[in-house]
């Protein structure tokens, strides 16, 4: 009888990640309260004026992404993306409790903006040109990078090139994600890519030997590694740059510039936000607020 303990380990990993991402491990990690501007003035007719007038903002974020946007057991969302949205809302004079959070999985991020279901999307949203055809981005506010996670005893896979050299090696990622697209150029055959709906399923398959590696943004992988009790490790360097942007309705330049100004004025809050959320995971480095792209 050699029942593996992979499933249990993966479940525990997921639970632990949830806990880590909630920042619930001590008083020193409580999420910072962002500054809320008092009665800010905006030019009439702008998005900012409308939102400030309404006193509320609808924000699309993920509810299942540890460290960035995750719904906790009390039904509140927590994470770095959530804190970023709070900073921006604060600049509009909107308090965190007046923000309406809308669950926005990867597949519908453009749709909710086009359909005016949200005012902005902060959801580990990689800036790219296809997406820019339908919406506009403010930011980037963070640059993630793709990496590879393997079992601790695996010495054969050392980086993305290993998949080119060894056509039998399989790698797992999530359907419809940017990392899944970017790994394809290293693959010798499309059959090497295994796709699931969630990264926890990939981690599970890595643990029970169904796949040889998992790939996605470093921050997500670090979460799995730090909770795996030495079962997983990261190999190779980050081989992509994934600039995370804030999705806003197409062509709203004034709103984009406002977001840039607000983030730049609140760099301290930005650092605190990181340390209280995604920065909780062992092995992460606190980022500097990156140079912003031109608003268009």
């Amino acid at each position: 009888m050699s029942f593996r303990r992979g499933a249990l380990a993966a479940t525990m990993t997921a639970t632990a990640l949830v806990l880590a991402a909630c920042g619930g491990s001590g008083d020193d990690t409580a999420a910072p309260e962002p500054e809320v501007a008092e009665a800010p003035e905006f030019e009439a007719g702008t998005t900012m004026a409308e939102l400030a007038e309404a006193g509320t903002i609808r924000v699309g974020t993920k509810f299942d992404q540890p460290g960035f946007g995750l719904e906790n057991l009390e039904g509140e969302v927590e994470g770095f993306d959530v804190e970023i949205a709070k900073i921006i809302a604060g600049g509009l004079g909107i308090a965190p409790e007046d923000i309406e959070w809308v669950q926005t999985p990867s597949a519908v991020r453009e749709e909710v903006l086009e359909g005016d279901e949200v005012d902005m999307v902060v959801a580990t949203y990689t800036i790219n040109d296809t997406r820019k055809e339908r919406i506009s981005f403010a930011g980037p506010y963070y640059t993630a990078g793709q990496q590879i996670m393997v079992a601790a005893d695996n010495d054969e896979i050392t980086g993305p090139e290993s998949f080119t050299d060894n056509p039998d090696a399989t790698v797992c990622s999530v359907t419809g994600s940017t990392p899944a697209e970017q790994i394809t150029e290293y693959l010798a055959s499309p059959d090497q890519l295994v796709l699931f709906d969630e990264y926890s399923q990939c981690a599970d398959s890595l643990s029970n030997g169904q796949v040889d590696a998992v790939t996605t943004d470093n921050v997500i992988l670090l979460g799995f590694v730090s909770e795996s009790d030495g079962e997983f490790k990261l190999v190779g360097e980050q081989f992509t740059e994934e600039p995370y942007g804030i999705g806003i309705p197409k062509g709203d330049v004034a709103f984009c510039e406002f977001i840039h100004e607000t983030l730049r004025e609140n760099e301290d809050a930005y650092t605190e936000a990181w340390e209280a959320t995604a920065g909780q995971v062992e092995g992460t480095e606190t980022p500097e607020l990156p140079e912003f792209d031109e608003c268009a």
């Binding site: 593996r4 419809g176 295994v194 699931f196 029970n208 030997g209 169904q210």
Partner: protein, 217 residues
């Protein structure tokens, strides 16, 4: 339509992968379903109990649960095969329960006198089933079996979410969420059309089959 035409090669690949899943699943589930039906009508109580157990288990379990068991449960037991194998296996197990019940309804529609006549000319149970009862039963089950098979073809979309990837459904997911195309044209113009090509063709073939095997009673 142009988002579909721009990515027609992806859709063709997805179509072929879906077709491959469906054909393997058909090849597995039809014989298995008939076998389980034979168990359910057999004179041997343990076989009957086994047949009933099989149908009760797989007919009452959601397909996704069967697939989770195959894709994550079997590897836990040390059985490592490709996700394609596990996906087809899950679809075969699940559908076999429905095939079994359709076939059993056909067997029950054959008058008891036929089985008795077979017995009286010296055929044993297996021979009677094989040469007398099943040929008559299968004629009457073409329409309900057709529905089961077409449902299975559509269910093959679920397999794509269990590590198989590259089928029609996953192709649609990939185009809309990673590559940023609009949902409506991709799923209506590409994915739905792909499945319709498969299911409408199957429907037409079933019509032909039904006419071919029809007998005047």
């Amino acid at each position: 339509m142009s988002p579909v035409l721009d990515n027609i090669d992806l859709f063709v690949d997805g179509f072929l992968t879906s077709l491959e899943i469906i054909l393997w699943a058909l090849a597995g589930t039809l014989p298995l379903g008939v076998l389980i039906a034979a168990c359910r009508v057999s004179p041997i109580p343990p076989l009957r109990a086994f047949g009933t157990f099989w149908v009760t288990t797989f007919r009452n379990t959601p397909l996704t649960v069967v697939l989770v068991f195959c894709a994550f449960g079997l590897p836990e037991l040390g059985i490592n095969r490709s996700f394609f194998f596990f996906g087809v296996l899950g679809l075969v197990l699940y559908t076999s329960a429905f095939v079994c019940e359709a076939v059993r309804s056909g067997i029950n529609s054959v008058p008891a006198g036929q089985a008795e006549a077979a017995r009286s000319i010296g055929l044993n149970f297996t021979q009677g089933l094989r040469y007398v009862v099943l040929p008559q039963a299968l004629r009457t089950v073409v329409p309900p079996l057709g529905s089961v098979v077409i449902a299975m073809m559509k269910n093959s979309a679920v397999v794509g979410a269990f590590g198989v990837g590259g089928d029609l459904w996953s192709t649609g997911q990939r185009l809309t969420s990673a590559l940023g195309y609009e949902t409506f044209p991709i799923f209506v113009g590409g994915v739905a059309v792909g499945y319709l090509i498969i299911t409408l063709t199957a429907g037409a073939l079933l019509q032909v089959l039904e006419r071919r095997v029809a007998i005047a009673r």
